[in-house]
Symmetry: C3
Subunit: 151 residues, 3 copies
Amino acid sequence: MVIEARLKELGITLPEPSAAVANYLPVVEEGGWITVSGQLPLQDGKLSCSGYVGGNVSVEEAYQAARLCAINGLAQIKQAAGSLERVRIIRVGGFVASAAGFTGQPKVINGASDLLVEVLGERGRHARAAVGVAELPMGAAVEVEFSARIL
Amino acid sequence: MVIEARLKELGITLPEPSAAVANYLPVVEEGGWITVSGQLPLQDGKLSCSGYVGGNVSVEEAYQAARLCAINGLAQIKQAAGSLERVRIIRVGGFVASAAGFTGQPKVINGASDLLVEVLGERGRHARAAVGVAELPMGAAVEVEFSARIL
Amino acid sequence: MVIEARLKELGITLPEPSAAVANYLPVVEEGGWITVSGQLPLQDGKLSCSGYVGGNVSVEEAYQAARLCAINGLAQIKQAAGSLERVRIIRVGGFVASAAGFTGQPKVINGASDLLVEVLGERGRHARAAVGVAELPMGAAVEVEFSARIL
């Protein structure tokens, strides 16, 4: 229960993992490998951060949105693995809706990376790609996908 | 032959899987895991849908294009697995060339997700990321990549 | 030492693999699968190619930048695998910062694909997705991520 205790210390409550809304799943587990669908910064079903980073959205706001994507992703990983105690994060794919000329995508996706390491320690460290895209679903400023391994 | 029968019922004929055109492969299989290259909405070697969704391309046209990407992807998966009977789809990565302000990428990529579930049933359900990009190869409106597992 | 000899013949010196700069890792190995973070065209710590392909950056310049991303990626793969002798490349994900209307992303990412096959031969052939994005970290024109398998 080390990880659960750490979540409590950090004041983080994982949400109920969202259910599938179409012909895809929020998370797939196969052979010990977990693949999480792209997570949006949704809180209680509402988008917390929309627009374009470097435009109407600041780096700090987008960092918090990426952190929220990671909290939502952890809820999915926990559901798929049964527990977060023996999970290692493998990859984070971060998409940042970017205003023209905004090149600070890594600073934004650090919000997800930092959360994963705060909660999971060394097992939260991962490979990562961060890119700036034109548009994201629902107008979200950030979308983050994850893969993980059950150890 | 359950899946082959279902394809027939649905009136879907998988194309000859396209060959590599450069120093990469349309599909890779390793250790039972299949990775399919980004598929464009090509039919008989011709791009069926080009431009920007939310601009000159409607959501319904792009949905059909994503469906075609999935048909092309299934042809590759069948080639790699030998058969579709024992295949599970793991992940769909959908890229939608998006006009400014278009945020309906999930509705577009549903064209791929729906096709996979129509053909493969529960084994067609997958994790997914859908994002809106600036430009796609050849001016395609949609590009979709896939990963799958041989069970 | 076949691969090392080929690198020498090609006149390619792999750089010291870059270290992590935040709460993520340049490369992760788990269960024989290697995942490499998105690589930028950095040479001696300096970005070699910035801007938008089809705008201020030519296809040939971007091809060379993608080649450099692959050299940097091979350095990470070698570090994770201990050697390049028994490595197979599985997937290349190529992101090209694209000026409006530029649709030649595959020609750009060929720079990475060609390098991998020059160095690794058949084991360098991979599945691939190439897309055109709005913006990339530090203003890079190209970012490429890799996955590989230790055989």
